[in-house]
């Protein structure tokens, strides 16, 4: 990768620039298996064309994956699509979609730690791809809601059946959503915010 010279770097357009009054940002992470619609959801509510940031990580060659000796290291680039919503003149919300292997997302320092919460997007055709990430969110204490992305050819299961299959705690909200629709994606985010709000009320 060559260093991009100044002439080729395109920044945000005039319309995409945040106001100078923007003082603070918050973030929500959208997780789920490959092809489940995370980037679609980011794009459907974002005010900017979704962008991609990346991080490079090295994996020490130890453990069960490694047959070739303990010193080998492999570099892995983890990319993350994200979008933005200006909530007010001061407050900005960023939405991060997480493609690729879930075990890497949690090593991206500060991605989940600082996030308000997460949306787990699931596809009922491949429910099992979400199992690992749900477990990791539970372990880290990141509050999340589960959104069932409605694909036309997906098998139909009742929300109760899905809740049991996912072994979700009773309090975790589940919603249906169409990640292509702005209103539906927005409502999913609102479900997460109401849930977070209810958690603060419960603790008082």
């Amino acid at each position: 990768m060559d260093f991009k010279s100044s002439d080729t770097i395109t920044g945000p357009s005039q319309e995409e620039a945040l106001p100078h009054t923007a003082t603070a940002a918050v973030k929500i992470v959208i997780v789920g298996g490959f092809g489940v619609g995370k980037t679609t959801m980011v794009g459907s509510v974002s005010e900017i064309r979704p962008l991609t940031t990346e991080e490079t990580m090295t994996q020490a060659g130890i453990g069960v994956d490694d047959n070739y000796g303990s010193e080998s290291k492999t570099a892995t680039t983890v990319a993350m699509d994200f979008g933005r919503i200006s909530l007010s003149e001061e407050l900005v919300l960023y939405l991060f979609g997480t493609p690729g292997q879930e075990r890497f997302w949690f090593l991206w320092n500060g991605l989940f730690e600082g996030a308000l919460g997460a949306v787990v997007l699931i596809d009922t055709r491949r429910l099992e791809v979400s199992f690992d990430v749900i477990g990791r969110l539970e372990e880290r204490g990141v509050p999340f809601v589960v959104a069932v992305n409605d694909f036309p050819d997906a098998p139909h299961h009742s929300m109760d059946t899905l809740r049991r299959a996912l072994d979700l705690d009773e309090v975790v909200p589940m919603v249906k959503c169409d990640a292509r629709q702005r209103a539906s994606s927005r409502d999913t985010l609102l479900t997460l915010m109401r849930y977070l709000h209810s958690l603060t009320v419960a603790r008082v």
Partner: protein, 129 residues
């Protein structure tokens, strides 16, 4: 592969069942940092604002950041526009913060007891979408 549409959903196979995770060995993954540089506590969504125009002596990367950050811009966006990994951008920005070329506006992160007024502000903003 996929079952026929719209018929007897109750007769279809049950969905797969999740087993609770058993904690495993911590994974040995590291962020590539290059040299061991001290870094400012920058989040993906820390907003960066330029203090002014790039001085003629500015390094090209610094000049790029200053041009991008005429209006507030998150570290994630800077990383995307410069096509550089997040950790590389944080090293760059740490230097620029040290030289007082840019200002950082820290994000609001989830604390153990989330701020209800913040959550309400987010909900209010989303409802306008």
């Amino acid at each position: 592969m996929s079952p026929p549409e719209g018929e007897n959903p109750s007769h279809r196979d049950d969905p797969p069942q999740r087993e609770r995770r058993t904690p495993e060995n911590p994974e040995r993954l590291y962020i590539l940092t290059g040299e061991d540089t001290e870094r400012a506590p920058l989040d993906l969504v820390t907003l960066i604002v330029a203090h002014g125009e790039a001085p003629p002596t500015a390094e090209p990367e610094h000049a790029d950041v200053l041009r991008l950050c005429g209006a507030p811009l998150s570290v994630a966006e800077i990383s995307a526009y410069l096509a550089l990994p997040f950790s590389v951008v944080t090293i760059l920005l740490t230097k620029m913060l040290g030289a007082d070329l840019v200002q950082a506006r820290a994000p609001i992160v989830r604390s153990t007891l989330p701020d209800r007024s913040l959550l309400e502000a987010v909900m209010h903003g989303l409802q306008k979408l």
